[in-house]
Amino acid sequence: MSDRLTKISLPIWLTAIFGILMIIEFFFSVPQIVTDTNVKLRSWVTIVSAAALILGTFILTIAHVKRAYERKPGWYYSLIYIGAFAVAGALGLISVRETNFMWIFNNMTSPIGAALYSLTAFTITSAAFRVFRARNWKASVMLVCGFIVLMMLLPVGGAIFPPIVPIGEWIRSFPSSAGFRGMIIGISLGTIGLGVRIFLGRQKEHLGIREEKKEAS
């Protein structure tokens, strides 16, 4: 098979055929064989993702081994990675339900993840400080609205000034949700446009393909 067929034409055709199959199943009453095929295709996605995960882990491990071997700055962190990978990997291979493996997950991975997640509170605060400055009238509107909604959510806000609760609720229910709905409509249109371009094979950079175009926009 030619290089173009395997690298460009085949992936585009497969994308279009499988994509259209999914669309047909969503809108139309289809024979059971189509539904079964689609279920199988969706399982393939999970399997391909798992294979890609193995590849990613393999490359990450190579990168760390190389860094530790070449004694590059921070090489000792790579040793920690290699040790952790070896221990967790070995325990996982014995059994993922094995007590020691689950202990690592419940007592190390999970709390570290939660601790990192908690960083959001601090960064949101400093980001809010950066953003909520009345530099112009638009920023001032945002500042006022943000303040009203914040006071509405705090118990003290309603206690000090009771009308702030319905005002805050009105901001959330009407101007805010209207804006979001507008965005959602636009995003849906954008997604459909992207899908059409991909199905037609006009947009194929996601396949790692970038052909020189003759036309200029």
């Binding site: 969503f26 995960l53 590849l55 190389k66 979001f180 459909i192 950079e205 790692g208 970038r210």
Partner: protein, 261 residues
């Protein structure tokens, strides 16, 4: 047997109209009639950010957010961000910028790796592409600490935050802002759009994320499809106006939709 599933007729008709409009404009472009489109400011910003990084001798980062491509709501913005990555990587290769693309999902990692490699090949700069460093797989969870730490350590001068962004958007953009990086942000995750718009120097809002890939492709046929999307916007505006008038007049549309259309 019912051919169309209950409650999906209206969506199907809307989809057919929209796809028809997009195909119509692509067809027109093929016959030489290119529609006039508003140029997204973000297109010029990409080169500006990468150029700034080269001048300062500091790296440029391209971050994706969530990249779990088995989730449909994440898949679409991630693919859209891939289109822009291809363009950005090519500029980075051309100008000699140090590009870094971290990803936290295996499938997205392999795709991004291919895209960036192809961009370096296209610019005859394959020697500048490091398969272990330019695009890096960082397991989900561990990626946050690595990214924050290296943002400070490497003094990132420019960063792109495109794709499906959740709470990490605030953590990363705020750290990059403190480091003085110039940022372009864009996501279709509605609750994080305000953060990216507020913190980033430049932003693409919602659907502009999808349009950006078509703009940077320099393919007239791709950008023509955006004119087709505008037909959908006009229809949505008309539907909203009719709906608002009917609701104001006390005519409920609930019964209409209960018919299973």
């Amino acid at each position: 047997m019912v051919l169309i599933l209950a409650g999906r007729l209206v969506s199907l008709v809307a989809l057919i109209i929209l796809v028809g409009a997009i195909l119509y404009y692509i067809q027109r472009a093929m016959s030489g009639k290119i529609p006039k489109l508003r140029r997204l400011p973000a297109v010029d910003v990409i080169q500006e950010i990468v150029g700034r990084c080269v001048e300062m001798g500091r790296p440029v980062w391209y971050l994706f957010g969530s990249t779990d491509m088995t989730t449909p709501s994440i898949l679409a913005p991630t693919v859209a961000a891939f289109q822009t990555l291809s363009y950005t990587a090519r500029i980075a290769a051309r100008l000699g910028a140090k590009l870094f693309v971290p990803l936290n999902q295996g499938l997205a990692y392999t795709m991004a790796s291919d895209i960036v490699r192809e961009a370096y090949v296209a610019e005859n700069k394959l020697e500048d592409f490091d398969p272990l460093k330019t695009v890096m797989y960082l397991p989900s969870g561990a990626d946050r600490m690595y990214i924050i730490n290296h943002m400070w350590e490497e003094q990132v001068a420019g960063a792109f935050f495109l794709g499906s962004w959740y709470h990490e958007a605030v953590i990363y953009t705020e750290n990059a802002a403190r480091e003085g990086a110039v940022m372009l942000g864009g996501t279709d995750t509605t609750h994080n759009i305000p953060f990216l718009v507020a913190i980033c120097d430049y932003s693409v809002i919602g659907e502009e994320l999808y349009a950006l890939g078509a703009y940077v492709s320099q393919d007239a046929l791709q950008s023509s499809s955006l004119a087709g999307q505008d037909i959908g916007k006009y229809l949505a505006i008309i539907a909203i106006l009719i709906g608002a008038i009917l609701v104001t007049a006390g005519i409920s549309l609930t019964e209409f939709f209960k018919l299973g259309w």
